[in-house]
Structures are given as structure tokens and as C-alpha cells.
């Protein structure tokens, strides 16, 4: 044991290999491997009759997706929903997180209050919204709408993912020492200037970190939209319809490329801000 330990101590490369081999085997081989197989299968087709996958290279799936107008519409609609949800969550979460981190005396209680709903099943919460939004239900009698549809979908998704936006922003602001804010004020900066020069550099990576959640969770959702979306369909529904339902894995994989592409571009774009470590 001891001799092995000192041997390893003298050979850092070996220690590194020991540390990295298992996790990389898992994430690269198992996870990325599975993703790669999925993406490859997007170039295959299914025999419409027996449902067997035909493993021959074909661009037919991508041709369908690019030429049929409905897939473009669905993709754009999903993107619009994800962006709206992210913006709404950020707008609500920033003042709430700021209050929690910098104003309130009851930080811990408020963090618990924000975390608790995450444990109530997501399906149950979505169904509760279905009741709230029903004809003659509370939302209808108080606000006269919005009823089921794309608006309701955005509302409910914002509700579901809001804590995932509040918490990283709170964590970021919490790390910002109060003394820094006071120093800025002492040096004569007005609130606006303090916000821009001191708060914003902390806020931006935190909001971006939160947005990874709200954005990707909205982009992949297919259950909430079935519950409150009226007749709306999003990209998740189309993927699900083709895999869970029609067993057309190649076509589902081809459609799945759309959210994957969007997310990878987004992640690479926000990586520079350090957002990935703010999660």
C-alpha cells in the first residue's frame, strides 16, 4: 500500500491516468458513444412495413426535415418557447435572487422555500396548472385567460424551471462580498454604476448558467405541452412520436439533431463566460 502510494506519488502521469480512466470511460465511451451511434443512425431508414432498421446510408430523413415546412415551423416554435421561458425566468429570478442574497435577513428560509417545490413531481405540478388554466378555473375567472395553448406552455415551463434560474444567480450574488458593494458606493459610484461595474460581472455568468437549464429543459420537453399546450406540438413531441410511438429511430434521431445542435452551439458560446462552472 505504502510503496504503491509512493510509486504513484513519483509518477503523476500514472495518478492522472488512474483518476481519469474510469470517468472518461463512462462519459466518453458510454455517453458520447451512445450519442454518436444515435447520430449515425439518423442516416439510416426504417422499413415502413416490418419496422426493421435498414442500415444503409441515406439522406432521406434530413431531406424530409429540411423540405417539409412543418419541421421548420416546429423547430422555430420550440426555439421561441425556449427563449421566451429563459427570458421570463431571468426577469423574475434576478430581483428575487438579489433580494434573497443582499436584502433579506432570512436567506436560509428563502433558499429552502425555493428548493422545496423541486421535490414535488414535475408531472403533478404541470397537472395542477392544467386545473388552474381550465375553463372557469382560477386563472380564467381572475385573468380571463390564457386558456390552453402556446402561451400556457410558456407560462407553465417558466414556472417549472424558475428555481433552476434563481439558485445559480443567488449563489453568484451571495459570493459577492457586501463590502465590495459598499466600497463602490463609498468611492462615489451611484447605484447604476455599482450595478454595472460590480454586480453585472457576477450576474452574467450566473444567469447564463441558469439559462442552460431553462433553455435545454424547455427545448426537450414533450410532456408539459401535452398537458397544457392545447394542440401545440414542439420538437420533443415530434421526436417522441417517431421513437416512442412509431419506432422510427432513424427519423427521430435526425430530428433530435436539431436540439442537440442548438444546445452544443449555446454551450460553446457561453463556456468562455465561465457559466459551466456556475451550475
Amino acid at each position: 500500500m505504502t510503496s504503491l502510494g509512493s510509486y504513484l506519488h513519483r509518477h503523476p502521469r500514472l495518478r492522472l491516468a488512474g483518476l481519469l480512466s474510469a470517468p472518461l470511460l463512462w462519459l466518453v465511451v458510454a455517453y458520447l458513444g451512445a450519442l454518436a451511434v444515435l447520430l449515425v443512425s439518423a442516416f439510416w431508414t426504417v422499413n415502413g412495413f416490418t419496422g426493421e432498421v435498414v442500415r444503409e446510408f441515406s439522406l432521406a430523413n434530413f431531406r424530409t426535415i429540411l423540405t417539409e415546412e412543418v419541421y421548420r415551423n416546429v423547430s422555430l416554435r420550440s426555439l421561441g418557447v425556449a427563449v421566451s421561458v429563459t427570458v421570463i425566468c431571468a426577469v423574475i429570478a434576478i430581483p428575487m435572487a438579489f433580494y434573497m442574497a443582499k436584502v433579506s435577513k432570512y436567506k436560509n428560509a428563502l433558499v429552502i422555500a425555493i428548493l422545496t417545490p423541486l421535490w414535488a413531481s414535475y408531472l403533478v405540478k404541470a397537472y395542477a396548472w392544467r386545473i388552474l388554466l381550465a375553463n372557469g378555473g382560477p386563472m380564467d375567472s381572475i385573468f380571463g385567460g390564457p386558456g390552453y395553448g402556446i402561451g400556457a406552455t410558456i407560462l407553465v415551463l417558466s414556472y417549472l424551471w424558475l428555481p433552476y434560474m434563481i439558485l445559480p444567480i443567488y449563489a453568484g450574488l451571495e459570493r459577492l462580498p457586501d463590502s465590495l458593494l459598499e466600497a463602490s458606493a463609498d468611492l462615489g459610484a451611484r447605484a447604476g454604476r455599482t450595478f454595472r461595474s460590480v454586480v453585472l460581472p457576477v450576474l452574467i455568468p450566473s444567469v447564463l448558467a441558469g439559462s442552460i437549464f431553462t433553455f435545454s429543459l424547455s427545448l426537450g420537453d414533450y410532456i408539459t405541452v401535452q398537458i397544457v399546450g392545447g394542440k401545440t406540438q414542439l420538437i420533443g413531441n415530434v421526436v417522441y412520436a417517431n421513437i416512442g410511438a412509431a419506432n422510427n429511430l432513424p427519423f427521430a434521431a435526425a430530428i433530435a439533431c436539431v436540439p442537440v445542435l442548438i444546445m452544443v452551439i449555446y454551450l460553446v458560446a457561453v463556456r468562455r463566460s465561465g457559466a459551466l462552472e456556475e451550475l
Binding site: 426504417v46 415502413g48 412495413f49 416490418t50 419496422g51 426493421e52 424530409t64 417539409e68 412543418v70 419541421y71 415551423n73 416546429v74 397537472y127 392544467r130 386545473i131 381550465a134 375553463n135 372557469g136 378555473g137 386558456g147 390552453y148 401535452q226 398537458i227 399546450g229 392545447g230 394542440k231 406540438q233 415530434v238 412520436a241 417517431n242 421513437i243 416512442g244 410511438a245 412509431a246 419506432n247 422510427n248 427519423f251
Partner: protein, 400 residues
């Protein structure tokens, strides 16, 4: 597993050669399926052996109850102790999901509806059933045996489980006069725009086809599941137009009951069980079998071609259509039982009357869900019909 696949491939190749030689379904050596299509040859079980201790089941919610949801609702525990076969159940949400699950080869039996059964049969995923080994089979309603969706060439591929029709439900306080025809849900000038609902599945295209079959004779539709390009396009266009009227599509019944009670939906397709539940909750609804007839479903218990536990699977199929269990499922799920003797076993003595279980005339107007195939199911050989994956992609475009 691997060797099994090779055998299958060889069989399929052999079958294809045979089909190529035939002249379209008249001779015994070609496939008897639509358009001369052949079924992979899979042997049925010759005799029952000892149970394997386990059976893996794919079923509709409510078909396999072991008392864990409600202590009084249990037709599994007795079976398990009697046969020693432990039942592992996986609930599928849609027919399409059932097919996907059966293709994994992890499951022994499935309660397939007609829009899944042919896909399973022609895909070689299920084996023919030796009905001699199932003592309760003789008591099944004749109208359910050896039908297009559960048998090929006189060979039975499963035991019928239950059936029902896709009815037209409406709010009596809002939809007046009461509808008599499916035109109520297709009329572009409908006053109920935004409050009409329809079933959320590609198979719903058949409802439009059925309506066109009766109202547009020029299209010459003879089977709503066998649609050539023109017929299919007409049905899809009708549904695209209907999409303007739809408030939401439904797929689970809590959602539909709730929508009709709240008044988000006032008119649309439904199942008998949903009607009963909505009424029981005090909403003013009625349902009719419209003048055009209706689509419907008949479920069949089928056994996997790769079943790891065939003996337990046979014991299960016999058990699930036994009068007591069959009546239990029919009442819990809300459908017409398949066993003649079940009607005497239901707790609610009116159950069979409510669900028209013994009313063959009623079910004659029902076009049971059947998988659409490229080879037209109505026997036409001069055209190609739209297959189910075409239906699925069309459904996406209909919803927009």
C-alpha cells in the same frame, strides 16, 4: 440472440423468394396477407410444459392489476400463487409504444390493439398461438375470433381480450340539437370552433377516412385503413381543415374527462369509459355511435416470437380471458369483455349491456383499428397504400 437473428433473416429471404413466384395471393405457397405479403414462419408452441417462474408483460394501464393500486382489484396475485409465474408488468401509453417494446424481445406477452397487431405479426415479433392449449378460448365471442387484425391464414396470433368503439361525445347543455353524424366535428363553420377534441394518434386519420367513405363516394374508400395516395390526401386535408376547429387533442382520459367537465371541450371522440366517468362526476354529457359508424379497438393478447417464458405466457393468456379475470379487467378498464361467460361475473350486472358486449349488430358498425400497410388491406393490388410510418409523418403535418 445472434443466431436467432440469422435464422430470421434466412427465413425472411426464403419467404421473399416465394412471394416473388406467386401471382398475388391465390396459391397456397404465397403469402395470404394483403398484396401477397408473407408472414415470417414461426412455430407455435406444441405443448405446455412447466412454468418458468416469470412472465414479462406489456399492457395497457389497468389490464394487469395486482392489488397494488386498489386492494380489491387484483387478478394477478392469485395467478402468481397458482402457477408460480411472477408477473412483471410494463405499461405502454400507445400502440406504437407497445410495438417498440415488443421489438426489444424483453417481453413475453402483450395486449396489442389492432393498430399494433399486424405490425407485430408481419414484423415477426409475435408467434402464432396454439389455441388448443388455452382452455378458455372456446368461450370467446365468435365475432372476435380469427379477425383481420388477430389472425393470418386461419392461424390465430392471439386471444381476444375486449373491445370498444370510438364514440362521439358532446355536452348536452351546449351542443343542441344533439349531433347524429361525424360531420359535427368536421364542419368548417362549426359554432364550437376551439372546443372540439380529437384523439391524438396517427390512427385518427382513419376516422376522417371513415367519414369520407360515407360522404364522398367518389373517393371509393372501402376500408378506412387502406388508403391510396388520393384517398389519403383527402383524409389528411380534411384533418388539416379540422385542426382549425380543435381546442386540444387528447390521449389520456383524465385529460379528456377534465376538459369536458370544465367545458374546454364540448364535442369530440371518446371511449365509453370516459363517458361513464364524466357522467359520474356530474357533467352533462352524452355519447352516440354516429350514423356513419365508428372506428374502434379490439385488443388481443399476443406472445412474443422470442418469448423467454413461453409456458408462463400461455398460462397468463388463458388466465386473463377466464371469466372472472376477464370480467374484472372489463369493469376496471371500461370495455366490453371478450368471454361470453364474463357477463355473469361482473359486479355491475348492467356492465355488458352498457358496453354492448353481446350486441353484434352494434359492433358490426365498428371498424376496428388495423395497422395500415403498404399492401392495401382491402385487397387492391393495382395501387400502393400508405403505410403506418406515412400516417405518422402525416399526423405531424396535420398538427402543424
Amino acid at each position: 440472440m445472434r443466431s436467432g437473428r440469422i435464422v430470421m433473416a434466412a427465413l425472411a429471404a426464403g419467404v421473399l423468394t416465394l412471394a416473388g413466384c406467386g401471382d398475388g395471393g391465390s396459391s397456397g405457397s404465397t403469402g395470404s396477407g394483403p398484396g401477397g405479403l408473407s408472414v415470417p414462419k414461426i412455430d407455435k408452441l406444441a405443448s405446455l410444459g412447466a412454468g418458468e417462474g416469470t412472465v414479462n408483460v406489456v399492457s395497457w394501464a389497468g389490464y394487469v392489476e395486482d392489488g397494488s393500486t386498489d386492494k380489491a382489484v387484483d387478478w394477478v396475485t392469485g395467478f402468481e400463487s397458482e402457477t408460480g409465474c411472477q408477473v412483471n408488468n410494463k405499461i405502454a401509453g400507445t400502440s406504437d409504444e407497445m410495438v417498440a417494446l415488443m421489438k426489444t424481445g424483453e417481453y413475453d406477452v402483450v395486449s396489442a390493439s389492432g393498430d399494433a397487431s399486424l405490425r407485430l405479426i408481419y414484423g415477426g415479433d409475435v408467434a402464432p398461438v396454439n389455441t388448443d392449449l388455452i382452455s378458455n378460448y372456446k368461450d370467446v365471442f365468435e365475432g372476435l375470433k380469427n379477425q383481420r387484425w388477430n389472425s393470418v391464414d386461419g392461424a390465430s396470433y392471439g386471444v381476444p381480450h375486449g373491445r370498444g368503439a370510438n364514440l362521439l361525445m358532446y355536452r348536452t347543455d351546449q351542443v343542441q340539437p344533439a349531433p347524429t353524424s361525424w360531420s359535427a366535428v368536421f364542419d368548417p363553420a362549426s359554432p364550437f370552433k376551439g372546443k372540439i377534441t380529437a384523439y391524438d394518434s396517427p390512427i385518427y386519420i382513419a376516422d376522417a377516412a371513415l367519414y369520407l367513405m360515407k360522404t364522398k363516394p367518389d373517393l371509393k374508400i372501402t376500408n378506412p385503413y387502406a388508403l391510396d395516395d388520393t384517398q389519403f390526401q383527402a383524409a389528411v386535408d380534411l384533418l388539416k381543415q379540422q385542426n382549425e376547429l380543435i381546442g386540444e387533442y387528447w390521449s389520456d382520459y383524465t385529460k379528456e374527462v377534465q376538459a369536458f367537465k370544465a367545458g374546454n371541450s364540448v364535442l369530440g371522440t371518446t371511449w365509453q369509459v370516459i363517458v361513464n366517468l364524466t357522467k359520474a362526476d356530474g357533467a352533462p354529457v352524452e355519447a352516440i355511435l354516429p350514423s356513419e359508424g365508428a372506428t374502434g379497438w379490439s385488443d388481443t393478447w399476443m406472445i412474443s416470437a422470442k418469448a423467454a417464458h413461453p409456458n408462463c405466457a400461455y398460462l397468463w393468456m388463458n388466465h386473463i380471458i377466464s371469466p372472472k379475470a376477464n370480467a374484472g379487467v372489463a369493469e376496471w378498464f371500461g370495455e366490453a369483455p371478450s368471454n361470453k361467460l364474463s357477463c355473469a361475473q361482473t359486479a355491475d350486472k348492467n356492465h355488458c349491456a352498457t358496453f354492448h358486449a353481446e350486441d353484434e349488430e352494434y359492433f358490426e358498425q365498428v371498424w376496428y383499428w388495423t395497422t395500415p400497410l403498404a399492401q392495401c388491406l382491402d385487397g387492391r393490388t393495382d395501387v400502393t397504400c400508405k403505410d403506418y410510418s406515412a400516417w405518422t409523418q402525416a399526423w405531424t403535418t396535420i398538427k402543424g
